[in-house]
């Protein structure tokens, strides 16, 4: 059933409905017509029988009685004339009859005796005659005051009536069939009409391209209210896709900008050196500078690759393991303390709550490494970078990397984790920043089910808070 098209299903259903309705209406009309016709015959027969019974009381002799009965019943010459016969209970011969007993019609009247006789003072209807001469008969038995009851049988031809009923049946069949066909045609048109909005929507979707998402055109397309939610969610999905494309495009533009600039500098250094005769020192400087620029490009490319790999599916990444927070941070701080020492600064570990994390070690090392490095670079020269960890209120742990740097303008804070975002481009250029370190940190944090934010003030310095979920059955209670 599922393979049938929506249109075919709709048509099948409406066809079944129309046929059922046609049969029902036609059948009821036919039945009512036939019953009505036959009842009219029966009523006539009853009136005639009563008339004949009343005539029996008249004193006119058999000849008078026959004349009177003939006129009551409406007897006339002809094969399909109404007929009757009257006899007394127990008598074998008729008192009076429309037709002689030995003729066809008389025999049909006599054959009625094979029908179970009605009780006294009651009557019975029966169909008599042969297949070309159908008669309806009424047999009435009345108990006369004198004792023996009268039997009156009145019969009337139903040949024409039955013929009419047959015709009526044919007409009804034709009308119902025509009406059914017309309704089916309407159903077909209705189905096409109902399904057209789907084609309109499909047409819009067909025209969707990477350049032209066309969500608004889709929203504006005329669809019935039932399809609204479908169109609306499709348009929303397209909007999401468009935003994703835009983010991607911006990222590519930023990445190419970040790569083009050092490339342009390196090229200009080499071209300048090549343009004219230079001293050995001049050439050496050009080569050295070009190499520095290539290093910068290399760093950008490496960081971009790290970001790209973070976006991969979980199973392609490093396996998740348990990490004791305290030794992990102490180890990192020690490593970066050596880096900071070169600039006269230091990295120290403050109070660290005992906790066990579930995470990817290399990624977490990169996360906190980036943050500490960032703090060293952006903090004051020979300043102290402090790493602390405190238990969070939702079964998690909050690690804070703090430096003594000045306030970052509050409007910059939400953007700091964007790719290639820098508060001061020229400054980070000199410090070798790629504008991707914090973006990578955020990506790793989100990948571990945590979140990251930054606070900065001139009094308290700058602090990056990383909230990470920890194992509940960790290495003991919080201190």
């Amino acid at each position: 059933m599922n393979r049938l098209s929506l249109r075919a299903r709709f048509l099948l259903f409406s066809a079944a409905l129309i046929v059922a309705a046609g049969l029902l209406i036609g059948g009821v009309a036919y039945y009512e017509y036939r019953e009505g016709t036959m009842r009219a015959v029966d009523r006539t027969l009853r009136a005639k029988a009563n008339g004949v019974l009343a005539a029996l009381d008249d004193e006119g002799g058999p000849a008078g009685l026959k004349r009177e009965a003939d006129s009551i019943v409406g007897f006339r010459a002809g094969k399909r004339s109404p007929m009757y016969r009257v006899w007394r209970d127990g008598s074998r011969s008729d008192l009076v009859a429309s037709d002689p007993a030995d003729r066809d019609r008389g025999r049909w009247l006599r054959d009625i005796r094979e029908v179970r006789a009605p009780d006294a003072n009651s009557s019975i209807y029966a169909d008599i005659g042969d297949e070309h001469n159908e008669f309806r008969a009424l047999w009435v038995r009345s108990r006369a005051a004198s004792g023996a009851g009268w039997n009156v049988v009145v019969a009337e031809s139903t040949h024409y009536r039955l013929h009419e009923i047959g015709e009526m049946r044919n007409i009804l069949f034709g009308v119902v069939a025509c009406a059914g066909a017309v309704m089916l045609l309407f159903a077909l048109l209705a189905v096409r009409r109902v399904l057209r909005p789907i084609q309109v929507v499909a047409g819009h979707l067909d025209r969707v391209t990477y350049r032209d998402i066309g969500a608004d055109a889709l929203r504006d397309s005329p669809v019935p209210p039932e399809l609204r939610p479908f169109v609306e969610s499709t348009a929303k999905m397209l909007e999401r896709l468009r935003r994703a494309f835009e983010t991607q495009e911006r990222f590519v533009a930023d990445a190419s900008h970040e790569l083009r600039t050092p490339l342009a500098v390196a090229k200009s250094s080499l071209q300048t050196a090549a343009a004219k005769g230079r001293s050995i020192e001049g050439y050496e400087r050009a080569v050295r500078e070009a190499l520095e620029d290539l290093d910068r490009m290399q760093r950008v490319i490496e960081q971009l690759l790290i970001l790209a790999r973070l976006g991969r599916k979980a199973e392609e990444n490093e396996a998740v393991g348990e990490i004791e927070l305290e030794p992990f941070l102490a180890d990192l701080a020690e490593r970066y303390d050596a880096v900071a020492a070169r600039g006269g600064g230091s990295v120290v570990v403050g109070k660290v709550a005992a906790a066990t994390l579930l995470g990817r070690r290399t990624q977490l090392e990169r996360l906190f490494g980036n943050l500490i490095e960032n703090a060293i670079v952006h903090g004051p020269p020979s300043g102290t970078v402090t790493v602390e960890a405190s238990p969070g209120d939702r079964g998690d742990v909050v690690v804070c990397v703090h430096d003594e740097g000045g306030a970052i303008p509050p409007e910059e804070l939400p953007h700091l984790f964007d790719r290639f975002y820098r508060v001061d481009r020229s400054r980070s250029r000199h410090t070798g920043g790629t504008g991707l370190g914090l973006a990578i940190a955020r990506e790793i944090t989100l990948g571990h089910g945590g979140d990251i934010r930054m606070e900065s003030s001139s009094d308290h310095g700058t602090c990056v808070f990383v909230r990470l979920p920890r194992l509940p059955e960790g290495s003991g209670r919080d201190p």
Binding site: H257, L263, S268, Q271, T272, E289, R429
Partner: protein, 226 residues
């Protein structure tokens, strides 16, 4: 000719300055941030501004708009890593005269700079003819009455500037400002020294090419045709 480079990549700016000084003899100033760059562009009579778009403090486009709304007609060449059509259209619409994307060929940049400066003085022909004097700005050579004239770099620059503005009276301050960059030491009588050297070297028929002095106003290069 005096050129301003507003570019936060110090090394790139220095390389461009080196090449412009060496091959064209231009005086070049460098600014590495937007605020400083805008101030310099607005307060000095540059013949060309080379402008990066993504600058610290003030963006290149806003510097450009400020320049144009202040009525500065100086030719501006945008030099940026942004290569989208929209960026280019936006840059040109904001009033720049040319647009070059990084990375670029140094030779192309130099050629564009020369062309923009010529256009700035309404002299599209790289060969400037003033009477019997011919100044070839491509080869940086000078011929007087068909005879090649050997000039020092500074003498050539003074003559080229006068030739670009041939027929106008050029003040001494103008000459000084277009010959020296911001940091150069300036001596007020240096112009007189160069002018007299030029007069002596060009020599020949004085009526066909002459640097005339207008006391208290400046100098004018005159030829038969001007």
């Amino acid at each position: 000719m005096r050129v301003l480079i507003v570019e936060d990549e110090v090394r790139l700016a220095r390389n461009i300055a080196d090449v412009l000084q060496a091959t064209c003899g231009y005086a070049v100033d460098i600014s590495v941030d937007g605020e400083d760059g805008r101030h310099m562009a607005l307060t000095n009579p540059y013949d060309l501004v080379i402008l990066d778009l993504m600058l610290p403090k003030i963006g290149g486009l806003s510097i450009l708009r400020d320049l144009r709304s202040a009525g500065a007609g100086v030719p501006v060449l945008i030099l940026t890593a942004r290569d989208g059509t929209e960026d280019i259209v936006q840059g040109l619409d904001a009033g720049s005269d040319d647009y070059l994307t990084k990375p670029f060929e140094m030779a192309e940049l130099v050629a564009r700079c020369k062309a923009l400066i010529r256009r700035g003085y309404d002299r599209p022909n790289p060969l400037i003819q003033v009477g019997l004097l011919a100044v070839d700005t491509r080869a940086r050579s000078v011929q007087a009455d068909g005879r090649p004239v050997e000039l020092t770099a500074m003498e050539y620059r003074v003559l080229e500037y006068l030739a670009l503005r041939a027929g106008e009276i050029v003040s001494k301050e103008d000459i000084l400002e277009h010959l020296y960059d911001f940091d150069a030491e300036r001596f007020s009588n240096v112009v007189e020294v160069y002018i007299s050297a030029l007069r002596r070297k060009l020599g020949g028929r004085q009526d066909a090419m002459v640097i005339r002095t207008f006391r208290g106003q400046g100098y004018r290069l005159e030829g038969e045709n001007t």
